[in-house]
Structure formats: C-alpha cells, structure tokens
C-alpha cells in the first residue's frame, strides 16, 4: 500500500525505518509516509509470514541475471562481426573521419567529435595510420589492410553495454527480477539495435551515453533524502558528464538533456514547496548544485571534446573551405598563410563570391532592351557571376580621386608605403573597380535587375565618363573586425557597398537566360547584412607580388607552424558549432531510404545498408517487429490509462490509490523521455532516418515493461493486500516468458537480414517480407 513496502529491505526491517540509500527503490516524490494506524493488522500478518520462511532477497537474482544478460548482449552484438569485410553504409563517413584524425587533417562534419574521436583512439591503439579513406560502400577492407574489426568492436561493445544499463535502470526503478530481465531481453533481441551496433556508426555510443544519463539521474534522484552527500554529488555530476558525452556524440543528445531538464525542473518545483520546509537559502543551495553539475560541468566536458578535436586536427585538409579565413589561417599548410598578400592600388585582382565561389565577371555583351516579363533595361554592359577562370574576371582596383569626390577621407601614406612606393588598399577605403578588358567602371543605379526586380542593376560605364563618378565608388566593408590596416587577399571577407545608393554587391545561384549565357545574376542588394553579399580577393597581379607573396614580406613555408597566432579556442568552437547547426539543417537532399517520424514506431520501412547478389545477402536495418509493435502499443496504453485515471480522479473515483506515485513519476518519467527523444523530430526539416528513433525505442520498451509490471504486479498486490511486490506472480512470469520466446523467434527469423548472412532461397527471403514497404533487395 505504501511506497516503501515495495522496497526489498524495508520488508526486512520495520516499515517505519528508513535506512539511507539502498532501501529506496521506487521513484517517487514524497518521502516515507508514516504508517497508517489501520495497518497494524497487515503488519501482524506479515510478521507471522516472516517467521515462516527466510526473507526473500532478490539481490542474488539481480546479480545472476545481470551477468546473463550482459553475456547474451555481447554474444548477439559481436557474433561474426568481421563479415562483411567491406565498407557498409555510413562507415563511408565515420571510418573516413577516424582516418582524418589519424592523419591530423582538418575535416568538417555535422556531428560533434566524441564518437569519432573514440573510433580514432581505437584505430590508434591498434596501430592504424589512417591511410584508407572509406570512399565507397563495398570497398574491401582486407585488401587495403584496415583493422576494421577493431573499429567495429567499439560500437559493438557500446551497443552491448546498453543492455546491462537498461537492466540496472529497471532494477533501480523498483522492478522485480523478472521484470528487469524481461526488459533487458527485449533490448537484447531487437534486430535493429544489433544491426546498428555492429558497424562503424555512432548511434550505439549515443544510445549508451543516453541510457547512462538516465541511469545516473535515477540514482541521483533516489539520493534526494541525503542531499549534498558524497554519493548525491557523485551521481549528480555523473549525470552531467553522461549528458555531455551524449551530446558530444551527436547533437540529438540535446533531447536527453531536455528529458533530464524537465525532471530537474519538476524536482526543483517540488523542493520549492513550503511544505517541504526548505528555506530559500537551502533551496538556492539545491539550485546551484544542479546548475553546477548539470549545466556548467557538462559544458566544460563538451568543450573539452572540441579542444581535443582542434588539438589533433592541425593540418589543412578537406574541411578548410567550410571555415572562416581567420580559422583557416591557423591550419598548417593552408593557402591563407602561404598565398596571401596585401593589395596595392592599381593591381589587377579577381574577386570571388563567398557562398557560390563565382568570380565577379563582366563582358562586352549588353543587357537586352526588353526582358521576358516586359520590363525595360538600360542596355548597359552585363555584370555577372562566372564560376570559371577567365580573363574577363580581372578588375583593376583604383583609389578615389579627391578632386572629383571631395568628401573622401584624406590619405596619408604610412612609412612602409613611402618606403616601398606603393599605396595599399585599407579596410573601409572607397575604391573604384575598372574592368580590365573593357576598360569600364563598375556601377549600380536605380534600375531593377533582370531576375530580381527588387534589387538594383549592376553594369559598367566607360572609364572616361566622369558624370556618374559618384556611382562608381565602392566602400570595402570587412565582415569581421580586422586589426590589420591593409586589405589582404584570400584572408579578408568583405562587402562592396556603393557610396551613393547604399547597396551591396550581391550574387546568387539564379541563372540568367540565354542572353546572359546562363551565368549567375549579380545585383545591388539593399539588405546589406545578407550572407550572399560577401566577397574575397583571390589572385593579385602587381609588379611587387611574385608567387602570391610580396617582395619584402617573409616567405612562409607550408610545413612550419603558422606565423600568425591561431584563433582563441572559444571563437573556433563558436564558429564550428554554428556551422554544424547550419549544415545539419541544410541536410535536405533526398535519400532513397529517408523516412518520416510517424512511420518509425510501426516498422513501416527499414534502411538497406549493404547487399550482395551472391548468396542473397543483404544487411537491412529493421526492428524486431514483434517487440516494436508491442512497445508502441504499451506506450500508447500507458498514455490512455493515465488520461483515464486523471478523468476518474477528477470525478472522485480513485482506483490506483497509493501506487499512483510510482505510476506517475517512474513510468511518467520514462514516457516523457520517450516523448522528448521522439517528438522534436517532427519539427525538423532535414532528412530523417529510422535509426534516429532508436533511443526513443528503448524508452518505449521501458514504458511497456513498467506498465506491465504495474498492471500485473503492483495493481495485483494492491488488490491482494500483499506487502511485497518483488516476488511476482506466476502469471506474470509466464506472460513475460511467453513474450520473450516470441521475441526470440522474431530475432532468429530476421537474423539473416540483421547479420547479412544471406538466405538459401528466394521464397524463404520472400516470406520475411511481411510488409510490402520493406525493401528486401532480392525478394
């Protein structure tokens, strides 16, 4: 009847007694209630029973079962792990990234570094040097001498460890040995978790850290009666560290953070209750301990992963182009270092667009008099964006003439300029751009541009036309603050803002019609701050510049450390993190195996990882349908029963009574965790895959297991007026065993797809195709 009666040791001691940590197995908010007076009879009854037989101690059962499930988990995950000895599915990516770590070459990826660092660490430990780049699915590992089994063993170990952690979660939640074992078996026997764990992928690590966070949080929560004790702090900080690790593998770890965050807020809100008797001071102490361990500590750990990431990747590599010039500046052998020079006036330059890498281009052809939509143009010379090298990309950069534009800032040469007899372009200078081949100046004017009527047309006017002098003036506005007093090629990103019209030179992917040779449109944009307005200078031709380096400047050897100090760690981190978010949201390219979140719980479709015609072999990511359908049913059942209970309660009908606390708090927590790992995907615009559901799947299994335990053990013992719920009824054991046997059959039946061992005949493969939407390749 009371919460405490369900804990193992309280049945041994007296009911009133609370014995520190090991007694409290249930997840509830209220603390030990005083025994009701009417309970005396029950207690007497129980005392007599106690004398009749030795106390039931489930601990030994838990230990034995823990060993068993761990062993089985390792067996199912590691069996035949070396097959196929080929690159499978996303091993293309994650294997490649591990190689880059070992080569120390900078790469860019949307996921945080921890998972890939761990893979690289395994590779390092077995002496792999990163020579193989995992370029195509189906490339042979043995031929290239890649220690792929070692690499695969890491995710497999993580995948196997999920099982004991889940078992311990269930144990800590106060489930019986039978219930906890039941839950662990459902995880062991799920085919999708096995497939996902056996390859060089990040999801098993993510899921392991995710369940570890939940486990640590439950341990912490159960220590709430001894706040600020060592163990309390220990589990609190373990929660924080596990959360950081989860997020460190993939950004979806933030969903785990959300789940724990909701629990923390709920807990704090209860602590704030005056009936708890905490003073505001004590409350503040609780609050700051949580802030320290769950916000500050994880942040530090998370940053540490990136610190290691940057510390390892010091060489220029395939990820350079994603980063800002200042970032690339710090990489060994980057072009930013070796080929950048200050730009003197009257040098010949090419200007490139940052987002599309097109060159600013012009040619003698004119805009047509009349566009397709009937608008009329000025018939000026075309200015376009052109992706290839061409003589028409060359512009001469000229200073402003104070005689013609009196409001220009006065120019005083620096000592270096006098000595070298040049004048360098400075940030925020007004410049004119003369197109070298047609000898005309770049201008913009108040005429709608061909494709974008809201923007201003860009054209050129002959060099001798001084009437429109002011319109040819462009201000060089740097994107990032730069302390340098010169404008550097390659390194400086800037906007060109017209002095009169206050529009920036803008370029986008939109192609001009045939009259513009399909080149990109360039126009003047009133919204100055847009990303598409940014340009940089590529080549510079000037008498003083030889091989990209100016006479008098030191020549930089690409092998040595960069001359300039690298960016501070935090700005590197912020830059990379925001790029990761941006690119993650941009992953919208259709993929044949992408799916929508609503289909996930129902196993409507899997992902084909690898296939080979010979032997009808295919690795197909597919959940064990029996477990998946059962778990979603259980989860929906829980929600329905919860709502029914609330409605009845509102009408004054209370059926759950004392066991509601566990029903609400323990299962409710798991249910909310399932929701936070599932619902946010509905809001995401990027391509999504079945494996995104795996963490939520585990929690839906836990909800199912706990709901069954609640219905068959707790409600039953409530109706039987039984005190102990840790010795479940025979019916319950029978039922769970039956489900496990069914699940085991499902596991065995779909195992050929899970391990890719192939089928004997097409009909036996076809019989596996339960739903027409499963893409079994050879059926």
């Amino acid at each position: 009847m009371e919460d405490d009666t369900i804990s193992p040791s309280s049945t041994l001691s007296t009911l009133r007694h609370r014995k520190g940590h090991s007694t409290d197995t249930s997840l509830d908010t209220s603390t030990t209630p005083p025994p009701p007076q009417q309970d005396d009879e029950d207690q007497d009854e129980q005392d007599t029973k106690k004398q009749q037989r030795p106390p039931y101690n489930p601990q030994r059962g838990f230990d034995a079962m823990l060993l068993l499930v761990t062993f089985m988990a390792f067996f199912t995950r590691c069996w035949n792990i070396g097959d196929p000895a080929q690159v499978v599915f996303d091993e293309v990516h994650f294997g490649k990234f591990a190689s880059y770590y070992l080569r120390r070459e900078y790469y860019f990826d949307v996921h945080p570094p921890l998972g890939k660092l761990l893979l690289a660490a395994v590779g390092y430990a077995v002496g792999y040097d990163g020579h193989f780049l995992f370029d195509h699915i189906g490339d042979d590992y043995i031929e290239h001498g890649v220690p792929y089994v070692a690499l695969r063993l890491l995710p497999a170990t993580c995948g196997a460890l999920i099982v004991p952690v889940v078992f311990l979660i269930l144990k800590e939640l106060g489930l019986s040995v039978a219930g906890a074992t039941f839950g662990a078996f459902l995880i062991i026997l799920d085919n999708s978790l096995i497939t996902q764990s056996r390859l060089i992928l990040l999801d098993s690590m993510l899921t392991l850290f995710c369940v570890c966070s939940i486990y640590a949080w439950i341990r912490f929560y159960k220590k709430r009666h001894v706040p600020f004790s060592f163990e309390w702090y220990f589990w609190l900080s373990m929660t924080g560290i596990a959360l950081a690790c989860t997020t460190g593998v993939k950004m979806v770890g933030l969903f785990t953070v959300a789940a724990v965050g909701i629990a923390v807020l709920f807990d704090l809100w209860n602590l704030l209750d005056y009936r708890r008797g905490l003073s505001l001071r004590e409350f503040a102490r609780h609050f700051s301990a949580r802030a320290l361990c769950l916000i500050f500590l994880p942040l530090v750990v998370y940053l540490a992963f990136f610190y290691v990431h940057f510390a390892i990747l010091v060489k220029s590599g395939p990820g350079d182009a994603f980063m800002s010039p200042a970032f690339q500046d710090g990489l060994l052998g980057s072009e930013m270092n070796t080929n950048s020079s200050a730009i003197p006036f009257f040098s010949n330059i090419t200007i490139r667009h940052r987002e599309t890498t097109a060159y600013l281009h012009s040619h003698p052809e004119k805009y047509p008099l009349r566009y397709d939509d009937g608008r009329i143009s000025t018939q000026g010379q075309q200015v376009t964006g052109y992706p290839h090298r061409d003589l028409n990309n060359h512009w001469t950069i000229e200073p402003v003439d104070p005689a013609l534009y009196p409001s220009a800032a006065p120019y005083t040469p620096t000592d270096q300029e006098t000595e070298r007899n040049v004048r360098y372009v400075r940030p925020n200078d007004l410049v004119r751009l003369r197109h070298a081949r047609t000898n005309s100046h770049l201008i913009t004017h108040d005429v709608a541009s061909p494709l974008t009527p809201t923007h201003m047309e860009m054209t050129t006017i002959p060099a001798n036309d001084t009437n429109r002098y002011n319109e040819t003036l462009w201000k060089i506005q740097l994107v990032a603050d730069d302390s340098s007093d010169k404008l550097w090629s390659k390194r400086a990103h800037f906007r060109l803002v017209n002095a009169i019209h206050n529009v920036a030179v803008h370029c986008h992917k939109g192609q001009l019609p045939d009259w513009g040779f399909g080149q990109q449109e360039v126009n003047g944009n009133k919204a100055l701050k847009e990303a598409n307005n940014v340009w940089w200078i590529d080549q510079v031709e000037h008498a003083r510049i030889i091989n990209g380096t100016e006479i008098g400047e030191p020549i930089i050897d690409p092998k040595t450390q960069p001359q300039k100090p690298t960016l501070p760690f935090l700005s590197k981190f912020v830059e990379l993190q925001s790029l990761m978010f941006a690119h993650n949201a941009g992953l919208t390219k259709p993929h044949p195996y992408s799916s929508t979140p609503i289909t996930w719980p129902f196993v409507l479709r899997g992902i084909s990882f690898w296939e080979r015609k010979a032997g009808l072999r295919q690795i197909y990511l597919l959940g064990n349908p029996l477990i998946w359908w059962l778990s979603i049913t259980g989860t929906v059942m829980y929600a329905a029963m919860w709502i029914m209970d609330r409605i009845l309660l509102r009408r004054g009908i209370d059926d759950f009574g004392p066991i509601r606390t566990w029903w609400d708090n323990a299962i409710g927590f798991l249910f909310v965790t399932w929701l936070t790992h599932y619902l946010p995907f509905f809001l995401m615009g990027r391509m999504l895959f079945l494996h995104h559901y795996l963490p939520s799947f585990i929690f839906s299994v836990l909800v199912l297991v706990c709901t069954l335990e609640f219905c068959f053990v707790r409600v039953w013992s409530l109706s039987q007026r039984k005190k102990s719920v840790l010795r479940p009824s025979r019916t319950y054991v029978m039922l769970t065993s039956l489900i496990v046997v069914g699940a085991a059959w499902g596991y065995w039946y779909f195992a050929p797809l899970t391990y890719g061992i192939g089928f004997e005949s097409v009909p036996s493969l076809q019989s596996r195709k339960w739903l027409s939407s499963w893409d079994l390749q050879h059926a």
Partner: protein
C-alpha cells in the same frame, strides 16, 4: 490523532465539504486554512477529520518527511479545487467579483466613429496599386471573370473583396499586374474595394472594446484599449489597402468577443444566450479560418480554453454524467462541426464562381480540370491498341506528359533527350508499337494491320512521332539523379535502323487482375519496365539543367523506393485502326469533397514552396521589437510613400506588458508554492482579468511562425499583436485597481495622448503623404527601419 486514510472516505469528505460552494466562486475555505501561522497555532480536536494542508501545517517536524501517502495527497488536491481548479482558472477568467459589465452603447458608437474618421481618411490615396493589391486585386478580377486560379489562402477574404468590386460595378478588366499601376485611368473602383478591409478594420475597434468589457475591464480602460487600436499605424496602414489581414483580424476579434461572452454565461447553461454565443463563436472561427489559415490559431486558442472549461466542469461533481455529455456535445457541435461547415461552404461558393480555366488549371489533376469550361481534357478511345498515337502523363508529379525533342543530353550517352513537359504538344506524341521479332539473327518490325489491344505483360516499343526515335534506356547514369539506382532514358534511332532490344518495355498494369488485362486510356495506371535492365520508367520533381530547358527529368529507376512515381496514365489515344464507335473513356467528374481535398493538397504545396526571397521579409524574432517594416508603395514622381510600421509607443508598451505579465504570474506561482497564499493572490490580481486567455492567444498566434520555413512578413504578427494590446489593457486595469477613478482616467488620458502624438508623427508613412526630409529622418528611431528618406523633398509645403 486520527485521520481518514480510506480513499472513498476522503472523497466523500471532499464532496460534502464543497457541495456548498457555488461553481467557480472564489477559493474555498480550505485555502484560507492554509495560512501558515493560523494553522500552526491551531490544534486539531479529537476525532476531527482534517485536511492534508492542516496536517502538514500542524506538524512542522514532518515537513521533510511529508508523511502522507499519495492517496491523501490526491484527495487533498481535490479538496482544494474541485469546483475551481487552477488549471481551469488559468484559461477562464479570474473568479467573479463584479456583476456582468454592460457595454456602453454611446462609447461603442463614439469609438467606431473616431476609428472611421482616422482609418478611412484619404483612403483613395494613393490611386495606384499598393503592395499585395497586386495579388488580392488580381484575384478579385479573376473571380469576376470566373477564371480558375490557385492561391495559398482560403477564398473568403478574396470573395468578399470581389463582391465589393462587383457592387461597385467592376468588370474585372484590370489585372493589377504590378505595384504602382494607375487606377484612375482604367476606372477601377479601387476605393470601394479598399472600403471593405477598411470598414472591417474600423469595426475591430468596437469589437475590442466589447471584448475588454466582457473580460470585466473597467469602462475607461476599455476605451483606452480601443483608442490604442485606432491609433496604431500598422493596423491602420494594413486596413487601408486591398489586403486580407484586416478581414482576418475582424473575424478573429469577433470570435474572441463571442467566446468571452460564452465564458460569462457559465451560470446559465443551455439558455438561448448561451447557445447563441457558443454558436456564433463557432461561426466566426470558421469565417476567420476561411480568410487565412492563420485563423486556425484562434481555433487552437479557443480549443485550449474549451478544454480548460470542460475540465473545470468535470470537477463539479454535481454535474451528472448525462449533463456532462450534453455539455460536451454542445461544444463539439458548435466549435468543431459549425466551423468545418462554414469553411466548406465557402469553398463550395469558390468552386461555383470559378467555372472557367485559368492560371490555376495546370496545378490540378485532369479529373479536376475536366470540370472547368474550356479545358483541354477530352474523352478518348478506351482500348489502347498497337499503332495508336498516345499521350503519356506522369501520375504523381504535376510534371506533365512524356516528351522528347531534337536536343541532346550533355551527359551520358549524348542521345536525344526525354523529359516531362507540362503542356501537350506534338513532341509529346508517342506511337505504341509491338516488340521487334528476331528471325535468323535479323530483327524485323512486325506490321500492324488490324486493331490489336495491348494487355498486361505485353512488350512494346514507344516511337516518338515527331522524330521517329524510340524510347530507350541503357547503362548510363541519369543526368541529374546521378546514382547507381537510376539509368538514363533517351530517344534513340536512325533512319533505316530498326533499333535494338534496349527499346523494349513491358507494360505492367498497376491494378492488374485477370478479368481486366487490357491497357485502357485514362482508366488504367501502368508501369513501363525495361526488359533488359529490369528498371522502371520513373520521374520525380527534379528539373534538368538549362540545356534541358528546365523540364523534368525522366529516368529508369532500379530502386524499390517511391513506387507511386513509376505510375503513368494515357490521356489521349488516337488509332486509325480502331472502330470509331468503340467505347470512349473520360475522366470522372470529381465530387465536391475530392475537389476540396485536392485544392488543399495543392494549397499546402504552394504554401510550402513560398520560400523565395522578398526584400522586405522578416523573421518572427524581429516582430515584437518592431525590427523591420514593409515598404508598401512609393510614388514614382513626388515624395509620398507608404511604409507599414507600427506605432512604436504602443508596440513597445505591448511588449513590456507581455514581459510584465509573465513576471507577475511567475512571482505569484512561486509565492503560492512558498505558502504566501494571500500575497500570491494579490500579486496575481495585478495581472488583470483576461490575462491567461489573452496571453495564450498571443503565444499561439506567435510561436508557430517560428516553425514555418516560408517567407514571412511583419503583418503576420498582427493577430498576435491584437492579443498583446488587449493584454496591455487588462494589465493596466489590474495594476491601477487601487487607483481612484479620477487618477486612473488621468493616466488613461496621458497614455492616449502620447499614442495619438506618435501616431500623427508617423501618419505620413501610413497614409502615403509627403513629409519633409528632416521629419522623415527624425522618425527613424531604429537603423533597421528602411524607408527611404533620400527621395523626400526638403520641404513639400513650400
């Protein structure tokens, strides 16, 4: 000490105790008992049944060890609020203190008149097309001419505008093609058309006043709210052009008003007034949603409020299950069925009016097109035989017909292109021929001399009539979908060359059964499977590069992905060998429901596709802080310009009130949690009467926009802004509740004066009338307000 521990007992206790309290009549006495000091002093009498709070309060030592199991806790929770649950209260009003306020008719008339003067002043200026009048004026023309069009918004707003144009005698001959076109020369009755949004914008003001009165806000503060809405530059500017937003706002405001009416009638369930307000809420919600889909947010707001209302009712144990069911179904009827009926009726009118083909025809399925006058979809021979000239349409993209032309791929085989093209021309005509026959190693094309129907599983060749090339596929990667699952499809052949087996395609009917093995035009969907490569003719919404004229790519797909993209259908079937009297097939005219559903699919798609760029678009985070406005119009000659920007004073006051409201509610909740019941209540009163409902309305009309990827504008914030202005009024009422009437009136006067002053300053932008350059620059408080001051003359008055 004895306390009830049996659950049933506790429930009985709770029932007894609170049976005396009228529904939602302020906090029951148990709350008063919560006062800590009183409780600690009070010793329970022997045999007395005490509440959970009393127990806790009298046993301070048990504070940490709460000591009462959940059963007691749950009854304790019940014991406090079964008649007035906190959740219910959160969305309904605060408990009643005053009798139902009366709206003052004089005030209603007065604010309407003032609003009319302010809003409709010089509504004929500018006499040119302004901003989105391009669209909504254009739609009115199309309605008048009955030309079918597609738009992302439901029809009601546009129908009303069209109706006002018809009444003013407009014949739809003007096409509103671009901003700045002149209205006077072609004699467009634009003033009448602008009057409709204008007048509805005016009527929003009395509606807001009455809503405030329903929320038990005092007369003077309600007037203040109305004045703030009149002198809001953004709302004024928006309601002066032919746009949908003020129509939407009016229906939305009306729905809120009737709903607050309904909430005030809780004591007289099923009375006429009760039914009337409930039904009119449903009606106005339906109208709002029929103007723009944003109206769904007002349905959500009232939906949440309804759930809270029903939850409160559920806790009233005097309401029997039967009565409860009656309550429940009354709401289902009025708040779900009525709005759906209204919405569908509006669409019915829409379909009735648009009877001719027009610019929207190409978006629709051939079934739909066949209902429009002048459509190209005609009936044709049903049975398809060898030798027939056919048009093959892709079923599940709107890409159009299988097409080829004398242009070549730039990639892969460099053979003649095969594409999808949305218009049926001669280049889309294919002749369906039997497969080559091989005799002694030489190929022969069998002659077709008599009608021979094509069956499921037949192998055919498709010859492009205009070029005599045959549909062909081979092991080259497709031009755009460059992966191993897709092969290129080309048209291949040469004079005198019969072709090879890569021209062979097997016809597979999708819904094949033995009794209907024949390929039928229009009626059967089929796949074309390449005999040698086992791939299926496939297309998806991907365009070829410029050398393919942006037409849709056609490939032969190997993967088992989207099956529905491999379905084709024959639209035209000409065959000289066929008996001219043989059965003809035609598209079935769709029912209203399927037309309705199809329009919605297309609308959704267009809405999703609105991710182009607009120079004055903005993101939701900039709206509450008035980050940026929209340039509506600027004069070609002269200096007038219309720029949509809110009255900064009102705008920022509303923002502050939102922040204050959240703070007050949080502080009250924390105080309550800390046991300071009375202080918490008095703090909560500062938030005013309508707080929870209005705040919910604001949030539900604002946050969903963050999830939308399409281009958004400042005017999307107006519905949300309306709620925040009402919240401002409600908060002002709460904050000044201790003031005497005179002082409060004075404060109201001050606020109104400032608002009007700011309004007048910004009015040149609102009305599109010239102003001096200095004035223009002075108005630019923020750098990001990008109206153009350079064009202004130095002083227009001189």
């Amino acid at each position: 000490m004895q306390y009830g521990w049996n659950v049933r007992e506790r429930v009985e206790f709770a029932k007894e105790r609170f049976a005396t309290f009228a529904f939602c009549q302020g906090p029951p006495q148990a709350m008063a008992l919560n006062d800590e000091d009183t409780l600690r002093k009070r010793k329970p009498q022997a045999g007395e049944t005490i509440s959970y709070e009393t127990y806790v309060a009298t046993h301070p030592n048990n504070y940490v060890n709460l000591g009462i199991d959940s059963a007691i806790q749950s009854t304790a929770n019940m014991s406090a609020p079964p008649t007035c649950a906190p959740a219910a209260e959160a969305f309904a009003h605060r408990p009643r203190e005053t009798p139902l306020p009366q709206t003052n008719l004089y005030v209603v008339v007065a604010v309407t008149l003032v609003a009319g003067l302010v809003r409709l002043y010089r509504i004929s200026n500018p006499s040119q097309v302004v901003f989105d009048e391009v669209h909504f004026g254009g739609f009115a023309s199309k309605y008048i001419q009955g030309k079918f069009f597609m738009d992302v918004h439901p029809p009601l707003g546009k129908l009303l505008i069209a109706a006002s144009a018809v009444l003013a005698g407009f014949d739809g001959s003007f096409d509103f093609k671009s901003i700045g076109l002149d209205y006077l020369e072609p004699k467009v009755p634009y003033v009448a058309m602008r009057m409709l949004p204008g007048i509805l914008g005016v009527l929003l003001v009395p509606v807001a006043y009455m809503t405030m009165r329903n929320l038990r806000v005092s007369n003077v503060v309600s007037i203040m709210t109305a004045v703030l809405l009149i002198f809001e530059n953004g709302l004024a500017c928006q309601s002066r052009a032919i746009l949908l937003d003020s129509i939407l706002l009016f229906f939305m405001g009306l729905a809120l008003m009737t709903w607050t009416d309904f909430l005030n009638l809780q004591k007289q369930p099923f009375s006429f007034a009760w039914w009337f307000s409930l039904a009119s809420t449903g009606l106005t919600m339906g109208l709002a949603a029929s103007v723009k889909w944003v109206g769904l947010f007002v349905i959500a707001t009232i939906g949440f409020s309804t759930i809270a209302n029903l939850w409160a009712l559920l806790g009233d144990l005097r309401v029997t299950p039967g009565q409860y069911a009656k309550h429940f179904f009354a709401r289902v009827l009025c708040l779900i069925i009525v709005p759906i009926a209204v919405y569908m009726t509006v669409f019915g009118i829409h379909f009735l009016v648009l009877t001719n083909t027009g610019s929207g025809t190409a978006f629709m399925s051939p079934e739909f097109q066949s209902t429009l006058r002048g459509s190209e979809i005609k009936d044709t021979f049903a049975e398809v035989g060898f030798g027939a000239d056919i048009l093959i349409r892709h079923e599940n993209t709107k890409g159009g017909y299988l097409h080829s032309h004398k242009h070549y791929y730039r990639t892969g085989s460099k053979q003649q292109q095969v594409t999808l093209y949305s218009f049926a021309d001669d280049n889309s005509l294919f002749q369906i021929l039997p497969a080559l026959v091989y005799e002694n190693g030489t190929a022969r094309s069998p002659a077709v001399t008599q009608f021979q129907p094509i069956k499921h599983g037949d192998i055919v060749r498709l010859e492009h009539v205009a070029s005599n090339m045959r549909l062909h596929s081979h092991e080259h990667r497709a031009p755009v979908t460059d992966n191993e699952d897709h092969y290129e499809v080309s048209a291949y052949g040469a004079p005198g060359f019969l072709g090879d087996s890569n021209d062979h395609w097997r016809v597979e009917l999708v819904d094949y059964d033995d009794s209907h093995p024949h390929l039928l035009a229009i009626e059967s969907r089929f796949r074309l499977v390449h005999v040698n490569l086992h791939c299926t003719l496939f297309s998806r919404a991907v365009k070829l590069p410029e050398w393919g004229f942006g037409q849709q790519e056609v490939t032969c797909a190997n993967h088992k992905g989207r099956k529905d993209l491999t379905y084709w259908r024959i639209d035209l079937n000409q065959n000289l060998l066929q008996n001219p009297f043989s059965r003809r097939a035609y598209y079935k005219k769709p029912s209203f429901l399927s037309k309705f559903i199809e329009s919605h699919k297309v609308m959704w798609k267009i809405n999703d596709g609105l991710n182009g760029y607009h120079p004055f678009q903005s993101r939701p985070d900039s709206w509450p802080v008035l980050g940026r406005g929209i340039s509506f119009w600027s004069a070609k000659e002269g200096t007038g310009q219309m720029y949509l920007v809110g009255n900064p004073f009102i705008w920022f006051s509303a923002l502050v009130s939102l922040g204050l409201y959240v703070t007050i509610e949080s502080v009250a909740a924390i105080l309550q949690k800390r046991g300071h019941q009375r202080t918490a209540e008095s703090v909560a009163k500062t938030a005013g009467g309508g707080g929870p409902l209005l705040f919910l309305g604001w949030a539900l009309h604002y946050f969903p926009f963050f999830l939308m990827g399409r281009q958004l504008f400042l005017h999307h914030y107006f519905p949300s802004f309306y709620f925040s202005v009402l919240l401002l009024g409600s908060l002002f009422e709460g904050a000044t509740r201790r003031f005497n009437h005179l002082f409060r009136s004075f404060a109201v006067l001050c606020i109104c004066t400032v608002a009007i002053y700011v309004y007048i300053n910004y009015s040149p932008l609102t009305y599109g009338i010239p102003m001096s350059k200095e004035h223009c620059k002075r108005l630019k408080w923020r750098q990001s307000w990008d109206w153009d001051c350079k064009k202004q003359l130095d002083d227009p008055i001189e």
